[in-house]
């Protein structure tokens, strides 16, 4: 019953979409019925054109996200934990850097990195870096100082202090940032692929738009939304497993 309650609105929406389009209240040219969209997803899977796009987009998004996490999270933790009192030195440069829109540099990134995978991965990584870095910083900087003091009072060593107190206290914030940046990653990737790529879901959207195959465009959009849901769910699950803490259960769709 709970399941039904949760997804009833989605079902109604899809039924409405199907019905309005079937009975030509909405122009089926622009709004092909949902069944046609599903059909075209199945069709593209069968002839093998959809999976390579999904694979490519997932690869780019996850690689960019991974790079951003590997660079951003430790950097944020170190800046927030170890160098908190020095943060006025780096605050302004980081704020400015975070405002540099990767699309500004799209032409230049291509000049530097050439065509191919690296510009798109760089765009995703750059976008994901900032939420990760800032949330890791805040997580490390706002650890309750009395927790650290009591840890010290019990004679914890530095590494124990990091493992037992600092990390568990900072982890929820870090994971919030990670989820946000995962949302950003798909969001930016689709735009980047629409700007200039020869593969990936964004490219599929663009090509379907240009060929006016709107059922394929909707198919790609549905697949993107579905991927976003799955990735966010996975990260949420992973976060719960890893840090044994109840994260905020609300999905925070940054739109991505």
């Amino acid at each position: 019953m709970k399941f039904v309650n949760k997804y009833i609105s989605l079902a109604i929406f899809l039924a409405l979409w199907e019905g309005l389009s079937r009975f030509r209240i909405l122009d089926p040219l622009f709004f092909p019925p949902f069944s046609a969209v599903i059909e075209s997803i199945v069709h593209m899977f069968k002839i093998g054109t959809l999976w390579p796009h999904i694979e490519l987009s997932l690869f780019r998004a996850l690689l960019g996200f991974f790079l951003a996490t590997v660079i951003g999270a430790p950097l944020g933790l170190i800046l927030g934990g170890r160098f908190k009192s020095q943060n006025d030195v780096v605050e302004l440069p980081l704020e400015i850097l975070s405002q540099i829109n990767p699309f500004l540099l799209f032409h230049l990134i291509i000049l530097f990195m050439g065509l191919g995978e690296s510009p798109k991965v760089a765009i995703v990584a750059w976008t994901c870096l900032w939420p990760t870095l800032f949330s890791a910083f805040n997580g490390a900087a706002n650890v309750n100082s009395s927790l650290i003091k009591s840890g010290r009072a019990f004679g914890l060593s530095t590494s124990q202090l990091i493992r037992k107190i600092i990390w568990p206290a900072a982890a929820p914030t870090v994971f919030t940032g990670l989820r946000l940046s995962l949302g950003y990653s798909l969001f930016m990737l689709i735009a980047a692929e629409m700007m200039g790529a020869s593969g990936g879901l964004g490219f599929l959207v663009l090509r379907s738009q240009e060929a006016f195959q709107l059922d394929r465009m909707y198919a790609a959009v549905v697949v993107i939304a579905f991927l976003g849901l799955i990735l966010d769910g996975l990260l949420y699950w992973l976060g719960r497993k890893l840090i044994f803490l109840s994260l905020e259960s609300q999905v925070n769709p940054s739109g991505g």
């Binding site: 829109n101 004679g155 530095t158 769709p253």
Partner: protein, 354 residues
């Protein structure tokens, strides 16, 4: 500070803690732990200014020097002065100011539309109709995950060509973060406060205005922050592919004609605009919400443990200035529409456009 007897185990431990997390232990290191924000903003303190702007100045100096000394190819990385010259040149020749205003107007209009839809909707679903919220949230989450940039043709079908579909895309982008942040904040308003309000004979409207809204505004602000950030991203991308004005258009056009100095010039404008909007939001937030807790992690700003409050009058003054700029800009845009088309389009394109 305590004595520095190395035999004292606690003291050694404290020292280690101090070096590891100096700011987290204010009692141990009063000199280091004084909130960095205090030092930064106490004007006239030369050292603080150097600390704050030193790295930036160093970077800008290095950039300029690398251009002057020809360390890098000038056609790929023009020096700072060349980029600034390009800004001046664009201001004179292709009405850069108007393009900036157009981009800004699009973002602000999108944000306003997003706000006017999101806040009432969030209140409705978070506060008044929680049972409905349980049923529709799955749908709304899927909507939030849909990338509006993909659906541009659909928006064109609904809103026609011109400004409307772009603004609709931006409104869509900023709508969802505000809505979801607002909804969870409205849902978790402290019931004690509401009960108190009711016992003080507050009507439901007053309770909304005086209790619910103030409780939700910090979260709504966080949503606005994320929304503005994403709007800017998507705006530049949208202007690059389908627009004839705006900063994204300038960048795309310059990129296509290999005028790298113009790319950098327009890029500087975008970054400065982003930083200014960020600052504007911080000032407003601290002026109006000085009582609320530290900034949320999604806020792309290092949170001070004790945010420095801004005077309310200052915040209002900034709001007024912003509204004034927007109004003047809008007047300019309407007056200059033809001028802009003439100056930015190539002749053959202009004929097509007309």
């Amino acid at each position: 500070m305590a004595n520095s007897d190395p035999a004292n185990r606690d003291d050694v431990a404290m020292k280690a803690a101090e070096t590891l997390y100096p700011a987290a232990i204010p009692a141990l290191s009063p000199d280091k732990a004084s909130a960095p924000g205090d030092r930064v903003f106490s004007g006239g303190n030369v050292k603080a200014i150097i600390r704050r702007y030193g790295l930036l100045a160093l970077f800008l100096g290095f950039w300029e020097l690398s251009g002057q000394a020809h360390w890098v190819d000038q056609t790929i990385v023009p020096s700072l002065s060349t980029s600034i010259k390009a800004i001046v040149e664009m201001w004179r020749n292709i009405h850069l100011g108007l393009h900036i205003m157009i981009s800004l107007t699009r973002v602000v209009l999108g944000l306003l539309i997003g706000l006017t839809v999101a806040v009432p909707l969030a209140f409705l679903l978070g506060r008044l109709l929680p049972k409905v919220a349980v049923r529709v949230n799955a749908l709304l989450q899927v909507f939030g995950l849909i990338n509006p940039y993909c659906l541009f043709p659909v928006f064109v079908v609904f809103f026609g060509l011109g400004e409307a579909p772009k603004i609709a895309v931006l409104a869509w982008v900023s709508l969802w973060p505000i809505f979801f942040n607002g909804q969870s904040a409205f849902r978790s308003v402290d019931p004690q406060l509401l009960k108190t309000a009711r016992s003080l004979n507050c009507g439901s409207l007053t309770a909304f205005w005086r209790v619910c809204l103030p409780a939700a505004i910090p979260a709504i602000f966080n949503g606005i922050r994320v929304g503005v950030e994403m709007s800017f991203f998507i705006l530049i991308a949208a202007e690059m592919t389908g627009a004839t004005a705006g900063l994204g258009w300038i960048i795309h056009n310059s990129g296509a004609s290999y005028q790298t100095d113009r790319i950098y010039g327009a890029g500087i404008c975008v970054v400065v605009l982003g930083v200014l909007i960020n600052r504007f939001l911080v000032v407003i937030r601290r002026g109006l919400l000085s009582w609320s807790e530290a900034l949320a992690p999604t806020w792309l700003q290092f949170s001070d443990t004790a945010p420095k409050p801004v005077k309310k009058s200052v915040a209002y003054a900034w709001c007024l200035i912003f509204i004034l700029i927007m109004a003047l800009g809008l007047i300019q845009i309407f007056r200059a529409e033809n001028l802009l088309i003439d100056s930015t389009l190539t002749p053959e394109y202009r004929i097509w456009y007309k």
